[in-house]
């Protein structure tokens, strides 16, 4: 029982954390709550499906393990481009206007949802089965885990490590950090905010697409165009648990959500209908107790 909760809570928690990572990155750097994050989660999963079915015709079956890798990379890049273009065309024009950004970005979610529906149709297709890549089971702490699920968790952990190394070691990453600490000073040193915001949005959208691919590989039902609500809900919850704008916080928040979700379903199986509401209920409870999130910064006076 406890082992089950620990193992599956960690796996789902790492994936939840990855879903929220891009959202918190953008908020930390530009102070903008880009709600379109939820829809890039879905776009990523769909693009992965398209690319993998296309690549399976090109690549010979002996190198089948190359298909998901290439499809994942191309989905990451393409979603990133879509995300930064959408940001540049709409949200960048109204950067200071908080209400405008919230409305425009939620409308952006619906635009992409409708585009996906119109292009792809009703079929809830493309569920990437990561088990095909690494078949079999692993026994961890007397619990059987699918090897694919643990691979998905490992990939999301890897994404976290790569991102934190990128931010602390490279020049662009340090510029991003500087921008989040002091906007005016960063501009004074010669950092181009416009380019960097676009780049951050691109990375955030790419991370969302990666999260979408991994999340859909661990669930049984396929992807649908309105799943952006779920992606958005999970990233909200994680970010609120961990505090908006902190990368470590989103890891902690994801793990908390993973443990509570797994425990709730294991302990109260008849509450399965409440499953879709769990993230929302957690959001409400946490925000009532601590309005800035568990690890968020304190309210600063203007």
């Amino acid at each position: 029982m406890l082992e089950y909760i620990i193992i599956f809570g960690t796996i789902s928690g790492l994936i939840y954390a990855l879903i929220a990572l891009g959202f918190t990155l953008v908020y930390g750097i530009s102070g903008m709550a880009n709600l379109t994050h939820g829809v890039f989660f879905v776009i990523g999963a769909y693009l992965y499906g398209v690319f993998s079915s296309y690549l399976s015709q090109l690549i010979s079956p002996t190198f089948f393990y190359l298909i998901p890798v290439f499809a994942m990379i191309s989905s990451f890049v393409l979603t990133g481009i879509i995300g930064s273009v959408f940001y540049r065309v709409t949200l960048h024009q109204i950067l200071g206007d908080e209400v405008g950004i919230l409305i425009a970005s939620i409308c952006g979610c619906i635009i992409f949802q409708q585009l996906i529906y119109i292009i792809m149709g009703t079929t809830a297709a493309f569920s990437f089965r990561i088990e095909l890549l690494v078949p079999g089971k692993i026994t961890l702490m007397n619990t059987d885990v699918l090897a694919g699920q643990s691979l998905a968790a490992l990939i999301s952990l890897l994404a976290f490590i790569v991102l934190s190394v990128f931010i602390s070691k490279t020049k662009t990453g340090r510029a991003m950090k500087a921008l989040s600490q002091d906007l005016e000073a960063a501009m004074l040193v010669g950092i181009s905010t416009e380019k960097l915001y676009m780049f951050t949005t691109a990375i955030s959208a790419g991370l969302a697409s990666l999260a979408g691919i991994l999340y859909t590989s661990t669930i049984t039902e396929g992807v649908t165009s309105y799943m952006w609500m779920l992606g958005l809900a999970i990233s909200f919850t994680v970010v609120i648990l961990g505090g908006l704008g902190s990368i470590k916080g989103s890891l902690v928040g994801g793990l908390i959500l993973g443990f509570t979700g797994t425990a709730a379903i294991k302990i109260l199986p008849e509450a399965g209908v409440l499953q879709q509401s769990i993230p929302f209920i957690v959001i409400i409870l946490v925000l009532i107790i601590r309005p800035k999130g568990l690890f968020g910064k304190r309210v600063e006076m203007e």
Partner: protein
């Protein structure tokens, strides 16, 4: 010179229009529009089609209440369907368990709406911007889970069916019921928008705007921000739940989770998104804007796109949402507001400034 005479004639007509029609005070104009809408049922529209206008009127009430909360007070709400659903469910439950008549349950559902607004408003007082948006969006979806969980009370996915309709008493035939529904919704829209407009232009409304402009500043001026924010939530919840319970008893005939959040609809959060669309179309922060926006939306959506040019509903929605994004980015003042402001600017720009000065003086005194 025929062109010259034509130009002269045109000029005469234009000056006539500019001096006489523009000078009609806004109240008269609103009254004229109301009269036009009163004649509508006798203008050869099939009675069954009146239901579209009825639902437009109810959506306009919801949109106006959203506008008071977001456009005037600056408390962003992405889940206004909450009040719509609370209104519908509370009157439905009162009917189911106590068998009370509609004229008792609908007013009581308003109290439930105010109560819900205070429940959601109290924790939201400490939040700002994105946090507030997240919580208001989360509330209706979380509530739908509870509706499914407490199946015995709320009826699960089916909801509470077979509610009494407003005009089912024998003297009304089916066709008369459509007309009566239309008139009731029109009267209630007029009443609630007048009440909200009066609130928005009163001293309280000016305090709301001051919270939107500068919360810290209005706090420093000695305004009890908490009280006014809760008041805005309560007024908004009252009219939102009015729209919801009326919809359940007029057109829906049932209270289902659909009012809050619908997994099968085009947009899962339809009742929360449509008020946003229509308010942006009309102009956020005005009270008349959402009403004009609602009529534009419903006429385009239900008459033009369904009958004249047949477009797939998914593409319709795409068109509307793209227009909204375009308006937010390029023309943030909305259609109706821009037109009205241009007209006012043409007329007497000084007077507006004077009115604003008087308003600020009032605030300073009070």
């Amino acid at each position: 010179m025929p062109i010259n005479t034509f130009a002269k004639y045109f000029r005469k007509v234009y000056t006539n229009f500019a001096t006489h029609i523009y000078d009609v005070p806004p109240r008269m104009l609103a009254f004229l529009i109301l009269i036009i809408f009163t004649i509508v049922p006798y203008a050869g529209i099939e009675p069954r089609r009146l239901d579209i206008l009825t639902s437009a009127n109810l959506m306009a009430i919801l949109a106006v209440s959203w506008d008071l909360l977001v456009g005037r007070t600056g408390l962003i709400s992405l889940g206004h369907a909450l009040f719509y659903g609370v209104g519908a469910y509370s009157s439905a439950i009162l009917f189911k368990y106590f068998q009370w008549p509609i004229w008792v349950t609908i007013p009581l559902s308003l109290i439930a709406g105010v109560g819900m607004a205070l429940i959601i408003g109290t924790p939201c007082l400490r939040m700002k911007g994105p946090y507030l948006a997240l919580v208001t969006m989360a509330f209706p979806i979380a509530i739908v889970g509870f509706l499914y969980y407490f199946r015995d009370i709320f009826g699960g996915e089916v909801g509470i069916q077979r509610l009494p309709r407003v005009f089912t008493i024998p003297p009304f035939s089916l066709n008369e019921r459509y007309v009566a529904n239309y008139y009731l919704s029109l009267v209630l829209l007029a009443l609630s928008s007048i009440i909200i407009y009066k609130i928005a232009t009163s001293k309280t409304g000016i305090v709301f705007v001051s919270i939107l402009d500068d919360e810290l500043g209005s706090k420093a001026c000695g305004i009890n921000v908490t009280k006014y924010k809760l008041m805005s939530f309560a007024i908004s919840g009252l009219f939102g739940s009015l729209a919801g319970s009326l919809y359940a008893h007029m057109l829906g005939g049932s209270a289902t989770p659909r009012y809050f959040y619908d997994n099968t609809a085009l947009i899962p959060i339809e009742n929360s998104i449509v008020p946003i669309i229509v308010t942006i179309l009309g102009g956020i922060g005005t009270i008349y804007g959402p009403i004009i926006g609602t009529y534009i939306y419903f006429l385009l959506n239900r008459y033009v796109f369904e009958n004249l040019i047949q477009i797939d509903p998914h593409i319709q929605l795409l068109v509307f949402i793209s227009i909204v994004v375009l308006l937010v980015v390029k023309w943030p003042r909305g259609i109706a507001r821009t037109i009205v402001e241009k007209l006012e600017d043409l007329e007497e720009p000084r007077e507006i400034e004077e009115i604003e000065k008087e308003k600020t003086k009032k605030v300073e005194k009070g």
